[in-house]
């Protein structure tokens, strides 16, 4: 929009008249009263000047050779850029001219010969209205711009939220698939085997009772195995020790059965929200799995967890082979850890170099 707010101090007035004397007369009245006056001597020149000077008001003589004042006014009204530009027509006294001036949509008219005070009063009030109009238009434009920025920002954040929610949901789906597989391939298969062999024992109970008894005895081992697998699975879904005693004991216990020799240092760690504890616990386990897989023979690992300011921090460091982060190991494990930590507002860093071991560290903000 061409909404320009002109300063009150120096309003610009365009005087349009084909008679130079009239122009000088108006200029003599307006200039000493703080108006910057420009002039045009024909209708077409008037339109050019309006476009070039962006005046705050136009004083328009009606009778001019060529394009007359009515036509100039109509054209100004037809152009969106000048639709609200105040136009005062300078008329002779007869009524018909006034009616035409109003029909051409002029804002006001002044009769010749004009009264100085009346002229200044009308010009002043129209310029003030123009100024208000410009201010409002500028504010509307600014508001529209803010609105757009705001909308863009909201869109951005919505998109970000949507993406992270999608990742979290698909991580949860993957977890459910894993549990389904574990259940299906583990305990369920044992139970199926048990069902089949129990039926068999029952079928044999009459004809070969001794064989049936033997079979039932053998089933005991399979029941134990199925139970063991269910217990492992339940443990993997949420370790009972983590739930009952928190991170220090759960991590210490996990270190005992970790696939790599592991030292645990957890000082000043208490209890936290279940999702925070679960995230730290599973990330540490995942990092230990990674370390066991990649660090190499004889490597050891250290798990640290501590609280710093309003953050729970942890790192899992090994003294093994390390790797060049540029050439990356972008395993599923690392992505999982990132998503898990990201889902509760934390972040994860990986620091490694060939021969320097690998340190995976994370920090999780603790809610107030």
């Amino acid at each position: 929009m061409s909404a320009q707010v002109s300063s009150d101090a120096n309003p610009k007035v365009l005087v349009v008249d084909d008679v130079p004397r009239n122009v000088r007369l108006l200029e003599a009245v307006l200039s000493p009263n703080g108006y910057t006056v420009t002039s045009a001597s024909s209708g077409s020149e008037a339109l050019e000047r309006v476009a070039a000077d962006l005046p705050d008001l136009v004083l328009l003589d009606i009778q001019m050779p060529g394009m007359d004042g009515y036509e100039v006014c109509r054209r100004l009204r037809a152009d969106p850029a000048t639709r609200f530009l105040p136009v005062v027509m300078i008329t002779s006294s007869d009524t018909e001219v006034r009616v035409n001036a109003l029909e051409a949509d002029a804002d006001d008219f002044i009769r010749k010969p004009f009264d100085q005070e009346e002229l200044l009063a009308r010009v002043r009030s129209l310029v003030r209205i123009k100024h208000y109009h410009d201010t409002i238009e500028a504010q509307a434009a600014e508001l529209a711009e803010w609105n757009q920025t705001l909308e863009a920002r909201v869109d951005e954040q919505t998109e970000e939220l949507r993406a992270s929610r999608t990742r979290v949901v698909s991580a949860a789906d993957a977890e459910r698939r894993r549990i389904e597989r574990d259940l299906h391939d583990g305990a369920q298969q044992h139970l199926i085997g048990l069902a089949v062999r129990m039926r068999l024992a029952r079928d044999l109970a009459d004809s070969e009772p001794e064989k049936a008894m033997e079979m039932l005895d053998a089933l005991g081992d399979d029941v134990q195995e199925a139970l063991e697998q269910l217990r492992d699975l339940a443990h993997g879904i949420y370790p009972p020790l983590l739930q009952d005693r928190g991170l220090p004991e759960a991590l210490t216990a996990a270190a005992g059965s970790a696939p790599i020799r592991t030292r645990i240092q957890v000082d000043g760690i208490t209890r936290y929200e279940p999702d925070v504890e679960a995230t730290v616990y599973f990330c540490c386990l995942e990092a230990l799995q990674n370390a066991a897989k990649h660090a190499g023979e004889g490597a050891t690992a250290t798990v640290n967890a501590w609280q710093e300011a309003e953050e729970l921090r942890f790192d899992v460091a090994d003294d093994g082979a390390g790797f060049d982060p540029e050439r990356g190991r972008s395993g599923v494990g690392l992505t999982n850890m990132r998503d898990r930590v990201g889902a509760i507002g934390g972040s994860l860093q990986i620091d490694s170099a060939p021969g320097r071991g690998t340190t995976i560290s994370g920090s999780i903000p603790l809610g107030s």
Binding site: I192, V196, R197
Partner: protein
């Protein structure tokens, strides 16, 4: 028809069911376990070399699944009877199971001597229903 027990191949990547199937077949003199396979690929090659009369075929296996193995076995030896077994319920098994040419579908936990005998005894009636081209039925 050959005299002697029905020769059975058991196919499952899960050990517990193979073990249970073996136990069941052990007490059934009219059936004889000739081999166990732990994948679709192993099943196809075992079927080719041992020519079993009956294959107990698990549906879900890594790599070549039971349906594909069934198609291949039947393409090579259409006279083979295949019983699909699964730890999933029938409604959770793909509709493709019905078009694989298998004789029957059986939830694994329902497997037993009586069921096996029943399916084997009625195999002539079961065949046309599963859409497999097979020797014409007596009144056919």
């Amino acid at each position: 028809m050959a005299i002697g027990p029905v020769r059975v191949l058991v196919v499952d990547d899960q050990r517990p069911f193979r073990k249970a199937a073996r136990a069941v077949l052990d007490v059934m003199p009219e059936f004889e376990l000739v081999d166990e396979a732990d994948s679709g690929e192993a099943a196809v090659s075992s079927s080719a070399s041992l020519e079993p009369d009956l294959v107990l075929m698990d549906v879900h296996m890594e790599g070549m699944d039971g349906l594909e193995a069934t198609r291949r076995i039947l393409a090579a030896r259409p006279e083979t009877a295949v019983i699909l077994v699964s730890s999933y319920r029938v409604e959770d098994v793909a509709a493709a199971a019905a078009e694989s040419g298998a004789l029957a579908f059986l939830p694994k936990d329902r497997f037993g001597a009586r069921t096996l005998r029943e399916i084997w005894a009625s195999r002539a009636e079961l065949l046309p229903r599963t859409g497999r081209r097979e020797p014409p039925s007596p009144d056919g």
